[in-house]
Amino acid sequence: VDAVLKEHLERVTGVDWAPNSNRIVTCAGDRNAYVWNFQPETGEWQPCLVLLRINRAATYVRWSPQEDRFAVGSGARLLSVCYFDPENNWWVSKHIKKPIRSTILCVDWHPSNYLLAVGSCDFKCRVFSAALKELSDKPETSAWMPRLSKFGTLLAEFSTTSGWVHGVKFSPSGNKLAWVSHDSSVNVVDMNSQDKILTLLTSFLPYTCVLWLSEASFAAAGHDNCPDLYNVSSDEVVYGARLDIKKEKTTDSNMSAMARFQKLDDLGATETGTKLYTTHVNCITEMRVVATTGDKIKKFSTAGKDGKLVIWEVDALCSKIAGLKI
């Protein structure tokens, strides 16, 4: 253990590390967020309190691509976008409230640094403008933002059939938006055809997080304890493969005939299906990129409720699983 960042009074619900500016932001159920700056002389992380001005717990936090601001989702049905005010030497928060009607579960920044996608418990995925004139933002119009819009403007609203939106992610170019919701669906929309939402109702348990592995494929992971690959074309989202293949142990052949029939009599089956064949043994809650070469993702990690952190190598998966297209 390198350092313990102890400041929060309640359960820490979100962490994000900005790689270029080397700052960590954490948010917790105590309705606060802290930005941690590393002091090389002492080797310690110095916390700086951020006043989010929310009256419910914070649920999720993400640095923007250029690391000059971060967005905090909360149970107060609003999003806090915070930026540093050098005059007063503190972090200021601005709220995006309308028309979010329930707890925010996930947030993702667009590569342009001023667009935000938000997934919440009111079964909707929305895109907002987070252009801050205080930070001299010079936004350009695009298919997501056809007219220059000020901070907090709702640019797009997408409904899932029903089900909390657990994870939302822009594709690497920012042209597509994928989200996963609690009705076991994965959804993708292209910014150029926003009324055509590509939905796939899966037969698996719901996903909690999603990560684009390339412009045409993404991995989703959740309550089935392992990541699944999905391929995206212009008209549909197609299931690719399950990315976790552990060798399945053959059934216990040492069972005597009598034991077999006794088990059949007692349980109605000869094998008890309680063995898990996945690397994670409980729900996966986060997926992050670990290494990239150019714009291709080489490694990604998953963390779950079983306390495990697993790193997946894309090339190794491609060779292990026949016909995998990323």
Binding site: R101, S102, D122, S159, T161, S162, G163, H182, D183, S184, L201, T202, S203, F204, L205, P206
Partner: protein
Amino acid sequence: MSKNVNSTQFRTVDVDAYDEDQYEDDARDDESGVQEVADRASQVKQLLNQTKSKDALKLALQNPPLGHKDSNVKQQNYETVLSVLKSFRAQEIDAAVEDLSNVEVDVLMKYLYKGFTANPDKSASLLLWHERAVKKGGLGSIIRVMVDRKGV
């Protein structure tokens, strides 16, 4: 004794209507499905009489009256579906479920769970349907029954 002359009009105010925290579903109060449900009921009956059970099943699972204001309409459709399900023999269920599309499997699941809650003791045949439907639709189809805000 003193008489209360102050106005008690405030007691008639609906406080909940002014509560900005209250969540309301996107309204979709369907009033149009009544005729369709009645038509479907008679058509399904015809198909069952001609022992075209698979076709009857597919028809019964079309366009359910989700979230309809009138519970009689929902009840009628439910009875239509149930009559079809009961007309199948155990061996035929497999083939019938195989033919269904993913959307139809989801609708079938919704009606199965409605059947479970309506008659918890007499659901043996429905359990058989459930097993086959899960084989086809997976756990996702069950999740969608739980998550659905507009009941079937």
